[in-house]
């Protein structure tokens, strides 16, 4: 059987900017309350147009789980590693807190966790996925902005979304080949 390739596809047109995902993530992953401590976020993109012709988009995001993984490359101790499914994880016991990965990440997706005494970031909730549950942010969303699934399964919701709609990725110029896809 072919290996799984996990990914998240986001339909941000639906996003209500309600922050349910960010709070769910904090509880699920014991992420402490704090200005710098968050794994995922919802950005209000700049308002476009002039009154009364306005337009605004909201953009939830998180670690992109890049296939070409800058953070993993610079990690001196293999604390950051990739699972066979392409999920980028941190082995907290191996992290020396040199923070090279934080400077290497073009998405500002990592932070120092006092809880783990290591750098941490989104794990795609692999502990839930391994139990057949969805990542917390995917599950809790009122409008289902995010879909999580296997790119190698043509029938997965992520595959079907990507084959039916155009999409973009963040910072393509960095050639990181993210596993987060934003359908348009």
């Amino acid at each position: 059987m072919e290996k799984k390739r996990y990914a998240i596809v986001l339909d941000t047109k639906k996003c209500l900017n309600c922050k349910a995902c960010t709070v769910a993530c904090k509880f699920e992953n014991y992420v402490p309350v704090g200005d710098d401590t968050y794994r995922i976020w919802v950005t209000e993109l700049p308002l476009q147009g002039k009154f009364p012709h306005l337009h605004q988009d909201f953009q939830p995001s998180q670690c992109q789980h890049c296939e070409n993984t800058p953070c993993e490359k610079v990690c001196p101790t293999k604390a950051t590693f990739k699972t066979p499914e392409g999920v980028v994880l941190v082995d907290y016991e191996k992290c020396i807190l040199c923070k090279a990965c934080m400077t290497a990440c073009p998405y500002d997706a990592r932070f120092v966790s006092e809880h783990h005494e290591a750098v941490e970031k989104c794990t795609f909730c692999m502990h839930r996925v391994s139990e057949g549950r969805e990542p917390a942010c995917v599950e809790t969303c009122p409008v289902r902005v995010r879909e999580f699934g296997d790119l190698n399964d043509p029938n997965s919701r992520v595959s079907r979304l990507l084959s039916s709609r155009p999409y973009m990725q963040l910072k393509p110029e960095k050639n990181t080949r993210p596993r987060l896809f934003y359908v348009l």
Partner: protein, 779 residues
């Protein structure tokens, strides 16, 4: 230094004798010997994990939740993926609920005031003492005023509220006041005046949706907030009219910054177009409605060109929207919204919306506005005693009471003779009208109200014009507050009873009406952390103590008392609450078990219910039994039977802005801002000010300003934006708390209660949150 240590540890050597002698008896011990194998926490912390289904209580929606409990501690609240109402979602507040039981600030034990009111001197008492104390005070009040209605009971909605009413009815006061008039009474009244009930909108199937002032993307309502984006049919069009560019506006196909309170004019013009161009649903109108000809006559004058002047939306656009709306009918929705206590005569606004839906036949069919269906539960057949010393509501004669709070500009001739001579307008009597009620209490007219009970409501924060609320509290001989937190209202109480959180309590089954009707209940997700009780237990406790005081029962028949003891006390309150719930569900075999497992129950697999009123011979709850475009009861009361256009209040001075209120998705009114997980999303609020106006006033983005109304003044950061009309300003509620207790939001940002004027909508008794004008100055 060394000497210091030596001297400090002197007790180990020199004064050993005395201290060693200080032996303490075992009666003082908090700890006891643990029997072998008491707890097994051997594999920590990833030990025992349980998933327990229940329902959320962070706002009114009651979404399905599944508590993930690890070793007895709630780790996370997950959404219930099967719940047909919440559609498997859980918002930020719902998630943050997992912190609620663990707030160190929660009330832990009954507290009795020992100092002056508001001074903050308390002593701990046991529940037994507390029940005795409350019962005694009820008896004293009854004795002194010889009127049971001299004790008022305030509450807000919630699953335990029905047990609060056990207490109310056992004492026999008619003065109850609920949250409705602070929220959606105008909406209920307006829609009910046409259809006899307050419907829901089928956003999952509607092809054309007009939302006027509803911010479904932030003021979350399930299932609407889910459906309008997640399940919207392909090609659905969303038109949003709101003075602010809300998140909902950002989702709209077209957003119009409509002039406040002119929504009625906009819809009247739509009606004009639809009727004059014969776009209405003739068959529906003929079959189901009453008064079409009168309506046709009335809307003649309301042309789109007329409306353009009122609401500042181009006439051509109004025409187009009217035609599109009619074109998509019956799968067109003019959204009933929810909170609607905005303007004076808001009822007419909502009545107009309802008429538009009726005329186009957008009623009780897929994709339209649909009456709520519900799954009837078995109620306990109880007759509370009829007490001789119960007087009519204090606000019965509302007309004379509320002249002060109805602006003269809107008193006459708009509503004919003024207020209906009703106890509290057209609301359900037990709802009461907060502003009217408060006026009556302040005036002692027609009798004094001197006792005040408050169940999970915080009128000091929630009811506009806080000074008046404080004056009202000062009048009271006795105040009892049943709460989870030391709210601003609890702070002024004589006795505070700690209520268990929704995650710790058994709550009775509730039938939640809607297109997708559902039954929910709550079971404890975790054991109570402290010595708290639920309203069920509290009512039971107080009523038992009341029964020990004969003077409380001297104005009823002895046989009534015996019935009461048997039916209410023995059969219900003395039994486990599970028995009560099982009785509620007795019609539905297996429902109780399903509720324990899933947290909700539906019949028919949770399918939507359409068409119940579209059956021959169906009688709508109106005088004519039809859908009343022309309201016969309003005519009787001297109100407009048809929603004639009412002019909005205008600012007195050119420099004044209309103050708008609203919510964001991560807070419920004033109750959740101190939750660390929600506080960190937004630490203070800021006032939205249009870019052009800010320029005129010389105010930069992020700068502090003073916002001043005739009620009060607040200091707040300016958010200079294109997202709001130049004639309005706005900030979200829940910040700038008076109480240092809300430690995170104490004095950060501004409170709306401090500046909103207590203007009253005369038909529904609702407050008008958008009828306050303010000035803005640099701080």
């Amino acid at each position: 230094m060394n000497n210091k240590i030596m001297s400090r540890r002197k007790f180990l050597g020199l004064s050993t004798g005395a201290v060693a002698g200080a032996l303490f008896g075992p009666h003082l011990n908090l700890l006891m010997a643990a029997p072998e194998g008491t707890f097994d926490y051997s594999i920590l912390p990833k030990g025992k994990r349980e998933y327990i289904a229940s329902n959320c209580d962070m706002c009114v929606n009651k979404c399905g939740i599944i508590g993930e409990v690890v070793n007895g501690k709630l780790h996370k609240i997950n959404p219930n993926p099967k719940n047909v109402k919440s559609r498997g979602m859980l918002c930020a507040k719902g998630n943050a609920g997992a912190a609620i039981p663990y707030s160190p600030d929660r009330l832990k034990t009954p507290l009795l005031r020992t100092g002056k009111r508001g001074e903050g001197k308390w002593k701990e008492i046991s529940w037994d003492e507390a029940f005795k104390y409350v019962a005694k005070n009820l008896a004293d009040l009854k004795q002194k005023y010889e009127n049971r209605s001299s004790v008022a009971f305030a509450s807000t909605e919630g699953f335990q509220e029905e047990f609060y009413y056990y207490l109310v009815n056992s004492f026999g006061s008619l003065n109850t006041v609920r949250h409705t008039t602070l929220c959606l009474s105008t909406n209920i009244q307006g829609w009910s005046s046409v259809f006899g009930s307050f419907p829901d909108a089928d956003l999952a199937n509607a092809e054309y949706v007009i939302m006027l002032g509803s911010d479904r993307a932030q003021a979350l309502i399930t299932p609407d907030s889910v459906d309008f984006q997640r399940y919207k049919p392909k090609g659905q069009k969303l038109i949003v009219l709101d003075p602010r560019f809300t998140e909902t506006g950002a989702k709209a196909d077209r957003w119009y910054p409509i002039k406040p309170r002119t929504d009625q004019g906009f819809v009247l013009a739509m009606l004009h177009v639809i009727i004059s161009e014969n776009l209405y649903d003739r068959e529906f109108v003929e079959t189901y409605t009453h008064g079409f000809d009168e309506l046709k006559e009335m809307v003649k004058e309301y042309t789109p060109e007329w409306a353009e002047k009122k609401c500042e939306i181009p006439a051509d656009d109004i025409r187009q929207i009217a035609r599109e709306f009619a074109d998509h009918a019956p799968r067109s929705v003019i959204y009933p919204g929810r909170r609607s206590s905005f303007y004076s005569h808001e009822v007419y606004v909502r009545q107009t919306f309802a008429i538009l839906a009726a005329v186009c036949g957008c009623w009780d069919t897929k994709g339209a506005v649909v009456p709520k269906a519900s799954i009837p539960l078995t109620t306990h057949e109880i007759m509370f005693p009829f007490f001789g010393q119960t007087m009519d509501r204090v606000d019965k004669d509302a007309v004379n009471l509320v002249k002060d709070v109805v602006p003269s500009a809107v008193q006459c001739p708009m509503i004919g003779t003024g207020l209906p001579n009703d106890s509290c307008a057209f609301l359900s009597e037990k709802d009461g009208s907060w502003v009217t009620f408060r006026e009556a209490v302040l005036k002692d007219d027609p009798y004094p109200v001197r006792g005040f009970f408050c169940f999970k409501q915080n009128p000091v924060q929630a009811v506009p014009n806080v000074q008046k609320t404080m004056k009202m509290l000062e009048k009271m001989d006795f105040i009892c507050v049943i709460e989870q937190q030391m709210s601003d209202t609890a702070w002024y109480a004589d006795i505070v009873l700690p209520h268990s959180t929704y995650l710790e309590s058994w709550d009775p089954a509730h039938s939640l009406g809607g297109i997708w009707p559902i039954v929910e209940m709550r079971q404890p997700v975790i054991k109570p952390l402290f010595d708290t009780k639920t309203m069920f237990e509290i009512s039971g406790g107080i009523i038992h103590e009341m029964l020990k005081i004969p003077s409380l029962w001297d104005d009823i028949e002895p046989s009534d008392l015996e019935d009461f003891k048997k039916n209410v006390v023995e059969d219900i309150l003395d039994k486990p609450i599970q028995d009560y719930i099982k009785h509620q569900l007795s019609k539905y075999p297996g429902a109780y078990e399903q509720l324990l497992k899933e947290g909700f129950y539906t019949v028919d697999g949770g399918k939507p219910v359409y068409g119940t009123t579209r059956k021959p011979g169906f009688l709508f709850k109106s005088k004519t039994g039809k859908i009343e475009l022309f309201n016969e009861r309003y005519k009787e009361f001297g109100l407009f039977p048809l929603p004639k256009y009412c002019e909005p209040l205008k600012p007195q001075d050119p420099g004044e802005y209309r103050f708008l209120v609203g919510r964001n998705a991560w807070n419920t009114h004033t109750s959740t801002q101190n939750n660390p997980y929600l506080w960190e999303i937004q630490k203070e609020n800021s006032v939205w000010l249009n870019t052009g106006e800010a320029k005129k006033l010389g105010i930069a983005d992020g700068e502090y300003v003073r916002i001043k109304s005739k009620i009060g003044e607040q200091r707040i950061k300016a958010y200079v934006t294109e997202k709001i009309r130049p004639d309005c300003v706005f900030y979200v509620n829940g910040y700038g708390m008076k109480s240092p207790g809300m430690s995170r939001v104490y004095k950060s940002g501004a409170s709306e209660a401090e500046i909103i004027d207590d203007v009253l909508d005369t038909i529904s008794g609702g407050v008008c949150m958008h009828e306050t004008f303010v000035t803005i100055n640099k701080a």
